[in-house]
Amino acid sequence: MADMITINVDGKDVQCPPKVQLIEALRRNAEIDTPAFCYHPDLKVAGNCRICLVEVEGPRGFALAISCHMQTSPGMKVKTHQSSEKIVKLRKGVMEFLLVNHPLDCPICDKAGECTLQEHYMGQGRHESRLDDAVGKVYKGGVDFRFQDTKGEVRGGKRIDLGETIVLDQERCIICTRCVRFMDDVAKSPQLDIAGRGDHAYLTTFPGKPLKHDYDLCTTDVCPVGALTGKHFRFQQRVWFLKSVESIDPSDSFGANLAIEYHNNRVWRLMPRRNPDVNKSWIANATRLLYQDLNKNRLSDAQLGDKDVTIEMAITAAAGALSAAKKVALVASGHLTVEDNAALVHLARTLGARAEIFGGSWLAVGKPDGIARSGDPVANRKGVQMLGIPESLDTLAQRAGEFDCLMTMGHDLWGADAAKAAPLESIPVRIALSPWNTATTKAATISIGIRAWAEVRGTMVNAAGRIQVMHACPVVPNSDLEAAWLVVSRLAKSQGAATAWATEGEAFRYAGTLARELAGVTYRAIGPMGLSTVAPAVAPVPVKAGV
């Protein structure tokens, strides 16, 4: 970049952006591992943990400064632990202080393996303990540390129920105030605070009030130690076993970036994936708990009427129904990927005048919460629009009599609005592709199970016009399940298309022929952080209700 400046770190010149936190420049540009507990790139700087100390040259020679608060400026001279013995010693000192009142219960701690304290101890602490029984600890986890607040609630100690979602271990807390700052500045709902002072300070909610917020589980992400743990994941799985796949929030058009973490053929949790341009480091509790639906109530096979059949049999039946139909209504879905909807367009074009494609949703659109949800549950609404599919679901209901075959894909039309969907029951053949058993699969004459959002690779375009890739997690309830695009492209082949697609890449390339914004775009070009399809100067267009 043209506006880079030069700073000197440990005697070496380093190019970095101007006026960024020095710690970021050290970590990214100088590639020096700089520890931090209180610093978080998406929270206000508090500067209280003091572990990121460096020496910075000032008018009176090198002076101590915390790199999270200091901003880079041209010609700045910095000494880190690599060249300054003093910094090594002081950081060890800070590490020792942090561990004074932190229990060494890593073997039973849920955070072990992803604990910042553990990592930096191994990296830069590594001292012999000078603690002993007589003088060492305050034992915040002990029974003596429990007391009743003014509302009669028990405070202090281990295993404190902070609210519906979170358990607090007071003894492990290192008072970094990340969670407090998250609730204050991001959630804008101040519910946590540090009470008391000195080494008897402790994290708490207001007397008698539980911690309750749509995003409160984010406090467990920012917690650098095992003080705050989510009840949904507590004691479920050791984090070092977990493998991770990058994905996108399928339940909201904000397109929050997340990681699917799985092990032993099961998804154990969803974690926010940092993307400064989209969701920063946050995802809503509702998004985070989506994984719980992945093995619940799945349509893992297919059904013809009330009869359970294999997926192959159902596809054959559906192909036959399509061939026999005079006029087919195809319903595209913003809950599924661009690839899936491109396949549907492909099917519609193969059927020619016999088919008409409808888009849109009957789900209510809420308001953006300003953090990581736009309120629109149709995650890929923009992507469907880009493919040229109209938002015409209401017309379909009015014109139901014109059709003798209906094919829905990923939608739960009956579940969204049973009254609006009722006229569709007059269509004799109703094919539903769905990952879950829903009111729509119940109303269908042919229902075919497909892979859910976590199990497919594909792209979605969020409300701000940013195209993002979700990758497939190999955990599936039934390995016979196929992605929607594959089922649909096989149906297209049965109706006379040249071949069925073999990869989602082919489907995506086809989407490129339909949408100007997607032409020539590849998965590699999109990358893990997504690619804006809107010119950078244009502000993201807010999704209007009912579009």
Partner: protein
């Protein structure tokens, strides 16, 4: 006991103690007879803000709260025409152990403080000023409120002071009694209604302080010296002290002297001479805390050479601090003094920064253990090392203030600590490390 007026044939400075011994000196009527508010008029309003700041700069007045920062320079940092109001906040949260000068000033001569605030307020373009008083100081708060009512009634405060175009309102804000609220940004946080924890700097208060506006925080005694400087000029103020430490200062003397109390003496007076003024030492001098509990202690030899000014104490690696002088004699136990000081800092650490939060408590627990007979070889080095670790690694100057007494006491009175430790029959054995405790996993 009245304040002595002369010492060795010379008149003692009378800048701040003017009404200390005058009955009813806290009332406007009596205070006016002794010259209060004489400067509030043409003497002040004919001068420009720039001239006033230059005057204070010339006088060399330094902050009397502890850090000794040049007051005129502090005033000159305040940016002009930012579109934001400028606030003047008086730090009356006198919390340094051993210091009790400001409380006397506020009860005996609150009008001198108000007069100083009007001058400072005018020089800085302040419309609203606060006096942040330590919560426990109820008589002082009452005296200030009474004095403010009188001053408002006499047209010395409020709109268009004494017919000038300058207006100033002063509010007394009662703190809740925390040592850290004497740190200027901690004080500002507390004043705004937040927890009294120091702020990260920059921005400094002069740029963004109270309510995110430029703010000057000055000690009571500092502001009380301003009327004298305006009335008599910078040169008159410089008749006392040295070039770098001009003027007079209030010293709060406690400890082993015959007549403890608050004394106003010229700066650069030798400590030994000062003790004579205080009726002489009680017993044989062992050491002296020269400027409040956070100032590094001086041993007897150092005390004999030290003079009461910023440079002399800096050369002895100590500081004048808030001017709380505590000499102690050979019957005192430095170990117990340090234990008490360390406990104070462990109790008062705001708990924000790791090194100070955990370090002060750690040192306190080690010292308590030494005193109760459980000390081991290496404990002295341990607390020294811990103090070194938190000395300069925190947001504010609390941690160095907590580290200096530890470092200086264990260095200068090491034999006393060793005596405690050697009394423990197991002192040479190393301690068992914490590995087992009830409820632990392994």
């Amino acid at each position: 006991m009245p304040h002595p007026t002369h010492w060795k044939g010379k008149e003692l400075p009378n800048v701040l103690r003017r009404l200390f011994d005058v009955p009813g000196g806290h009332t406007l009527e009596v205070a006016r007879k002794h010259g209060a508010y004489e400067t509030i008029g043409a003497a002040l309003f004919d001068k420009s803000q720039f001239e006033l700041i230059e005057l204070v700069k010339d006088s060399g007045l330094r902050g009397r709260g502890g850090a000794g920062f040049p007051t005129g320079m502090k005033w000159s940092f305040v940016p002009r025409n930012t579109g934001k109001p400028v606030y003047l906040v008086i730090n009356a949260d006198e919390g340094e152990p051993g210091t009790f000068k400001d409380r006397l000033c506020m009860t005996r001569d609150p009008h001198l403080l108000i007069e100083g605030m009007i001058i400072a307020g005018y020089a800085l373009g302040v419309r609203t000023a606060y006096i942040y008083v330590r919560g426990e100081m109820l008589p002082q708060i009452q005296a200030l409120n009474r004095a403010l009512t009188e001053a408002y009634a006499a047209g010395l405060l409020g709109e268009n002071i004494q017919g000038s175009s300058y207006s100033l309102d002063i509010y007394v804000h009662r703190g809740a009694g925390a040592y850290i609220c004497g740190e200027e940004t901690g004080l500002i946080n507390s004043l705004e209604g937040f927890k009294g924890q120091p702020r990260l700097k920059p921005p400094f208060p002069a740029i963004s302080g109270a309510f995110a506006a430029p703010t000057v925080v000055n000690n009571v005694e500092t502001i009380m010296a301003v009327p004298y400087i305006l009335k008599n000029g910078a040169k008159a103020y410089g008749q006392w002290g040295t070039a770098k430490s001009p003027g007079s200062k209030l010293f709060s003397v406690s400890g082993d002297v015959k007549k403890p109390g608050v004394y106003e003496v010229p700066l650069a007076m030798p400590y030994m001479e000062f003790f004579e003024l205080c009726g002489g030492l009680d017993g044989e001098l062992l050491g002296c805390i020269p400027g409040g509990s956070s100032a590094p202690v001086l041993n007897a030899e150092e005390t004999r050479k030290a003079t009461m000014d910023y440079e002399s104490l800096a050369s002895l690696k100590s500081m004048l601090g808030s001017g709380a002088v505590t000499p102690f004699n050979t019957t005192r136990d430095p170990v117990l003094i340090l234990e008490s000081v360390a406990r104070f800092y462990a109790h008062e650490s705001c708990g924000q920064c790791t090194p100070c939060r955990e370090g002060t408590g750690y040192v306190d627990r080690v010292l308590r253990n030494v005193v109760s007979g459980g000390g081991r070889t290496g404990d002295i080095d341990l607390i020294k090392d811990l103090a070194d670790s938190y000395e300069w690694t925190t947001i504010c100057a609390f941690a160095p203030g907590a580290a200096w007494p530890v470092q200086s006491f264990v260095t200068k009175f090491r034999s006393y600590f060793e005596a405690y430790i050697s009394k423990n029959p197991e002192h040479s054995e190393s301690r068992p490390l914490v590995a087992m405790r009830p409820g632990a996993f392994w």
